[in-house]
């Protein structure tokens, strides 16, 4: 008999949100542990924001339950939930100063003045904005506003923190710096976080687990590396990062390896899959797991021949687009390990692309 586990800190149980016949969220169930940073990742319109708004209490599920720390949140208005949210583009109160913004929630709880002042100071210190306490939001840069928003949402010590596209309004460079800083602050406070983002990099760097959503459904839940290296289906493989997807047929099924025949090559995949011979499958290979050479690699498996159609230099790596015989364009990303190559590849070159037997994933759906 399996011992019954303690229920998760946040339980989303079979939640449905129906907007006049359209299921924006379709029977979603997620368990989130205390202290976890959980990301809902998907393109716009996938239902991730709808789900977040139901957690915050701005809309209520058509059916299903949301249970936080043993408490059913049904019917509880946003102002009574022990949940705070950092809004997309922050929604800071423009008429209040930084410290008044942070104190807003504390005042609503009727906290004594001296305690409010103390807490606000602590929060300002946490986000390193002490000098800006008296400023108005419009006098701050985007990054500073983001930190005020974070301080405001953490000030009440919520049981659950919701982040709606937390870094969406920042430019790329600042975003990368802030991602790590944000995680550090969240870990210092030890709050459980559910974040919504369309930016996979953001989800990968910040979250401990990610749920991939599409059209109201959850396609896969897992740690970032799981999602990237073992995507559950074609959609996830294609959505996260770049991938070369080749359609083929399973021709040889063994416990320790399988052979898949595709138009351009035969794949030797170094792990078993659950399938039957003759079944149509897709093989996914990530661009960075592929190697380009002028010479034909040994063996008969795991290599394709093609012409360089395009190459893009990114500094740290170069991306090659190789036109294969079947018409498929193969994406390859090669690290620029040395500063120059004796025999540089260029447009129109005939090359071979190869990969190892463990670098592919076979997708059956």
């Amino acid at each position: 008999m399996v011992a019954s586990q303690a229920p998760a800190f946040l339980q989303i149980k079979d939640v449905v949100k129906d907007f006049s016949g359209v299921k924006a969220v379709n029977h979603v169930s997620i368990d989130i542990a205390k202290g976890e940073i959980f990301a809902l990742l998907g393109s716009s319109g996938c239902g991730k924001t709808t789900l977040l708004r139901m957690l915050a209490g701005f809309s209520s599920p058509t059916s299903g339950k949301i249970i936080l720390n043993g408490q059913d949140l049904e019917g509880l208005p946003p102002y009574l939930r022990p949940i705070n949210m950092m809004f997309q583009s922050y929604a800071l109160f423009p008429h209040l100063s930084v410290e008044e913004n942070i104190a807003f929630g504390l005042k609503r709880d009727g906290m004594p003045k001296d305690q409010i002042a103390e807490r606000v100071e602590k929060m300002l210190k946490l986000v390193q904005l002490g000098k800006y306490a008296k400023r108005k939001p419009h006098q701050l840069s985007g990054g500073q506003q983001q930190r005020v928003a974070l301080a405001r949402s953490l000030a009440k010590r919520p049981q659950l923190l919701l982040l709606d596209e937390p870094l969406g309004a920042l430019d790329k460079k600042l975003r990368e710096e802030t991602q790590i800083e944000l995680v550090n602050i969240i870990e210092q406070v030890g709050v459980t976080v559910v974040m919504v983002t369309h930016d996979q990099e953001e989800a990968m760097t910040m979250a401990s687990r990610i749920a991939i959503m599409s059209e109201g459904n959850i396609l896969q839940i897992g740690a970032p590396s799981e999602i990237y290296e073992t995507p559950a289906n074609r959609f996830v493989a294609d959505f996260i990062g770049n991938v070369n997807l080749m359609d083929g047929t399973l021709i040889d099924d063994n416990p320790d390896h399988v052979i898949v025949e595709c138009a351009d090559c035969k794949h030797y995949v170094g792990h078993g899959i659950t399938g039957t011979e003759g079944m149509a499958v897709s093989v996914a290979v990530r661009p960075e797991k592929i190697h380009v050479t002028r010479e034909k690699p040994d063996g008969e498996y795991n290599h394709v021949r093609g012409t360089i159609k395009d190459m893009v230099y990114f500094g740290s790596h170069t991306v090659y687009h190789i036109q294969l015989g079947s018409g498929l364009v193969f994406k390859i990303s090669e690290s620029n390990v040395s500063r120059h190559r004796d025999d540089p590849l260029t447009w129109g070159d005939e090359v071979w692309a190869s990969w190892t037997p463990l670098s592919q994933v076979v997708l059956t759906q």
Binding site: P78, Y79, N84, M85, F87, A91, P94, H95, F104, G105
Partner: protein, 314 residues
């Protein structure tokens, strides 16, 4: 110089650049139709009457340029308690009207701004609709509505509102609503309400509703969120609407004339009398100048205070 060269030169000169032309138009308009007439009024107010026309301010006599200014009108205004009382009454009724317009207009604008976008134009139309009927006619209609056996008067009587109004001292007797401070303020509130609603609506409609969600998220009930977020953020609309109501109300003439009574003497009436009954243009101009100062000085102080507060915060 060729015509082309002249044109280029004109174009290059700052006077004719498109930018200054665009900015210049409203300035010229204000200069010609506001500042200049005001200066004329100011000049008249310090001029002496010489039977049918004014004595020139500047006279050239015995090789000396003489400037003659007459301040006796202003002295008279300062000394005669009548003027003080009338100015005070004007400010009082204008303030009361502004307050009522705000009390009625704010909820109205609020619900209009929060109504479904598809019905907002219709609501806006309803606010504007009264303007299609002559203003004079609409004010005049109140005479019938509030007069003896007017249905509004009957309704108020039936509801015993007149007891309350009498207790407040704004009607002369039970069942008598006309020609009282009550009918005056009612008429002015009715007339000027759209001027309060429109700027408030414009302000409330563009408010970021996510701020209310943020307030709710931080523990504010809808009521608290309204007072702590919506109202402070609509301050600009409240000020604009109040100005649009208060300023014309101070100098209002027609409504007090039609709906007011002997005790609701306002400055517009005094101005009329000075101009057209007494034919004392310098005196009338002085009264007008004082009225303008009465409105502008507090406004200027308020503006300065606002600007300073803004600066102090930054």
């Amino acid at each position: 110089m060729s015509p082309q060269a002249v044109l280029t030169q004109l174009r290059n000169s700052k006077l004719l650049s498109g930018r200054s032309a665009v900015i210049g138009v409203p300035y010229v308009w204000l200069l010609v139709f506001f500042l200049l007439p005001f200066l004329i009024v100011l000049k008249i107010s310090v001029s002496e009457m010489e039977t049918v026309h004014f004595k020139d301010l500047l006279t050239y006599k015995d090789g000396l340029l003489q400037l003659t200014l007459k301040f006796s009108n202003y002295e008279f205004i300062a000394e005669d308690p009548l003027y003080f009382k009338v100015y005070l009454a004007s400010l009082k009724y204008a303030a009361a009207t502004t307050l009522f317009c705000l009390l009625i207009g704010y909820p109205f604008s609020y619900f209009m701004a929060r109504a479904k976008p598809s019905i907002q134009p219709a609501l806006l139309m309803m606010v504007m609709l009264p303007f299609w009927t002559s203003f004079l006619l609409r004010v005049y209609a109140w005479k019938g509505l509030l007069g003896e056996n007017g249905w509004v008067a009957n309704l108020l009587e039936w509801l015993h509102v007149d007891h309350l109004l009498l207790a407040l001292g704004v009607i002369p007797a039970l069942g008598k609503f006309m020609n009282s401070p009550f009918s005056l303020v009612l008429g002015m509130t009715y007339t000027y309400l759209p001027f309060m609603i429109l700027p408030l609506y414009a302000n409330l409609a563009k408010m970021d509703l996510r701020l209310l969600e943020a307030a709710a998220d931080l523990g504010a009930t809808p009521w608290t969120a309204f007072w702590k977020v919506t109202v402070p953020l609509s301050k600009a609309g409240i000020i604009a609407g109040s100005m649009l109501v208060f300023i014309p109300c101070v100098g209002e003439f027609v409504i007090p004339e039609l709906l007011g009574g002997p005790e609701t003497l306002m400055i517009g009436r005094v101005l009329w009398d000075e101009f057209f009954s007494n034919n004392d243009w310098p005196m009338a101009s002085s009264v007008a100048v004082v009225m303008i100062l009465l409105i502008i000085v507090p406004l200027a102080i308020f503006n300065k205070y606002q600007a300073e507060a803004q600066e102090a915060r930054s």
